[in-house]
Amino acid sequence: MARHFIRLIWNEFLLVRSNMAVLLIAVFQPALLYFLMTLVLVHPTFDLNFVPSDNPDDDRLLKAMNEVGVQSGVPYINPIILSTPSFNTGSQYIQIVEENGVPVAVQHFALVDSNMVKNYRNRLTAAGLIVWNEELGSGGIQITEKPLLPVDVPYRVYFGLAVAPMAAFLATMLIGATSTTHDFENDTFLEYRLSPLHTGRIMAARIMRTMLFGYFAAAVLFMMIWLLSGYKPRSWIMSAVYLLPICLIGSSLGVSIGLAIRRPLPAFVLSLASTFVFWLLGGAFGLPSGFNSYYQIVSKFIPNTHVVELMFPLFYGIQVGTPIISAGILVVQSMLSLLIVGRLYNMKAVRG
């Protein structure tokens, strides 16, 4: 029995050869996305160009810019001194000028995203505050950061943590959906339809194979997080346990989409779109508690949210949300998705 089931799973692995491109996208795309997003969006240190003037406050501001940072020691500003202003579409530079006898740090910018301009200004204001406090002495206002969490983990780690369930979900959805539509496309689904084996065994093999790819995708991502940030989950086993429901849900829904749609391209697109919606609504950029009430309500229905909350302590050492409720919701969602795939398989394969 066990040997037979292992053979069934092995069969499913062999079939991966029929759809190698999708497999590669499914497994490596989330890690690549994380890598690029980490580089582009969530790096806290901003390069700020500074053009020295004759103003005596130049040195003080530059020194202050170097001091702006966070508790964990990552600098907020990396001042780059330019001898002369340079102009191109992405240009930005700061220069102190005197207006009505008052030194003003003027930030020049060309085609820079408005959010980035705001970010530049916030950092520059912090540098200005340091200069101001120096003059005010004891009358100044000191602002400092003190993490409430046991460890001050960089944001990029949270971002990676939120990508992990997405990675597992994407791999399971895509592989589940495309392998099933591939069977319809080539009429090989008939082999499954006429099999004397119990439906449950056939489906279990396919779902298990798909789930293993989900784990593989998550593992690749965790390696990437470790490589880029130096952080890894405190327990690999518990990570696997918390990812189990999302792998199960993704596999079941992926196979269900394949069974219902039967055509590869629409199934692929739907799987991809669902994955990204689940990711965005499931705490992609921060725990839902930090967002508005609508987001919080919607996110409760998204499995990613609960997986992120359950995995949070594995990186941050502190529990968020209510683990028992998250676990309960995930169990119910897993059962529901298994029920859906079972019903659909019964409709499409057994009854025809």
Partner: protein
């Protein structure tokens, strides 16, 4: 297990199936004894696929009774699926996998006990002359090799009844003969074959009995020879330089049973005895038209098919 039909490989009685208002199979009955090669002929849309899907349990029936070696394909689904092999018209293999892997895939889905399966796979591949190419991806196989692979796959779990949809569709002449030989060899070992085909030559050479169905109903059953003899007529084919007008009048009194006009302008006449009327036929046609060719033949299965369905098979 019931009603004493266990000795029949396939037993179908009064089976009907409709799709909305369309009756695809209408009160159809047939019996195929064990060890027979049975052929099902019919134009497209005649109900062949619907019938096979009902017999194999892929489709439920509205009425009637079906048994495979005594088992109902709907109620004893899993039991029946162990007893049957199915080769669809479309060669449904995983082309990126090797021939061997395709058979392993089938074995895992169809065989409860995998002990000794390697030997069985080797045996089937050797039988179908595929052993040397067993590790090659199926995409590199010829059409005939793919069909042989699908047959090897269908036989792997040692089924009693094999349903074979268009066995040699897309296979070259040499490959067809090889496949026919394999089917006949399997029959000698006691296997029953239920074949659907549009190839009259194949049906004639391979099948022991045939059923012609049209619009969901059985219109003729018998051995190929029997069906041809039953027709009791000779076929005369005439080609004239210009189309013969009003042929029924022209051939009046000659014992012409039926006249068909083909698309290329030929006239096909079913006559009681071609030898008796050949001279008069030539005189009448030559008197009005320039006769190019005249051919007299014994009926073929094509003629049988044409007679019962009113359509030439290639036109369906």
């Amino acid at each position: 297990m019931d009603d004493g039909n266990n000795n029949q490989a396939v037993f179908v009685e009064g089976v009907s199936r409709s799709f909305n208002d369309l009756c695809a199979v209408d009160q159809l009955s047939l019996q195929v004894p064990q060890g027979e090669i049975f052929g099902l002929l019919g134009p497209n849309g005649a109900g062949k696929s619907t019938l096979i899907h009902m017999i194999t349990g892929l489709l439920s029936r509205d009425a009637g009774s079906i048994r495979i070696l005594g088992f109902d394909p709907e109620k004893d689904r899993r039991k029946v699926r162990r007893l049957i092999g199915f080769v669809p018209q479309h060669t449904n293999v995983y082309v990126d996998l090797s021939g061997m892997d395709n058979l392993w895939h089938h074995a895992a889905l169809y065989c409860d006990d995998l002990s000794g399966i390697s030997d069985k796979i080797e045996e089937q591949l050797r039988r179908m002359d595929l052993w040397e190419r067993r590790k090659d991806p199926v995409r590199t196989y010829s059409g005939g090799m793919k069909r042989r692979l699908v047959l090897a796959r269908a036989l792997l779990h040692n089924p009693e009844v094999i349903f074979f949809d268009e066995p040699t569709l897309g296979v070259d002449v040499q490959g067809r003969h090889v496949l026919w030989e394999h089917i006949k060899l399997q029959q000698q070992e006691g296997k029953t074959f239920f074949i659907t085909t549009n190839d009259m030559n194949e049906a004639d050479r391979l099948c022991e009995r045939l059923m012609i169905i049209d619009r969901g109903k059985a219109v003729a059953v018998g051995t190929p020879e029997n069906l041809k003899t039953k027709l009791g007529r000779d076929i005369v084919t005439l080609r004239t330089q210009t189309d013969v007008e009003n042929p029924e009048n022209l051939f009046k009194g000659l014992g012409v049973q039926k006249v068909y006009r083909s698309e290329n302008g030929q006239l096909r006449l079913e006559v009681l005895s071609a030898e008796d009327i050949a001279g008069e036929l030539v005189n009448r046609v030559s008197g009005l038209y320039q006769l190019e060719t005249m051919r007299i033949a014994r009926p073929t299965l094509d003629d049988v098919f044409l007679n019962y369905t009113g359509r030439a098979l290639r036109e369906t």
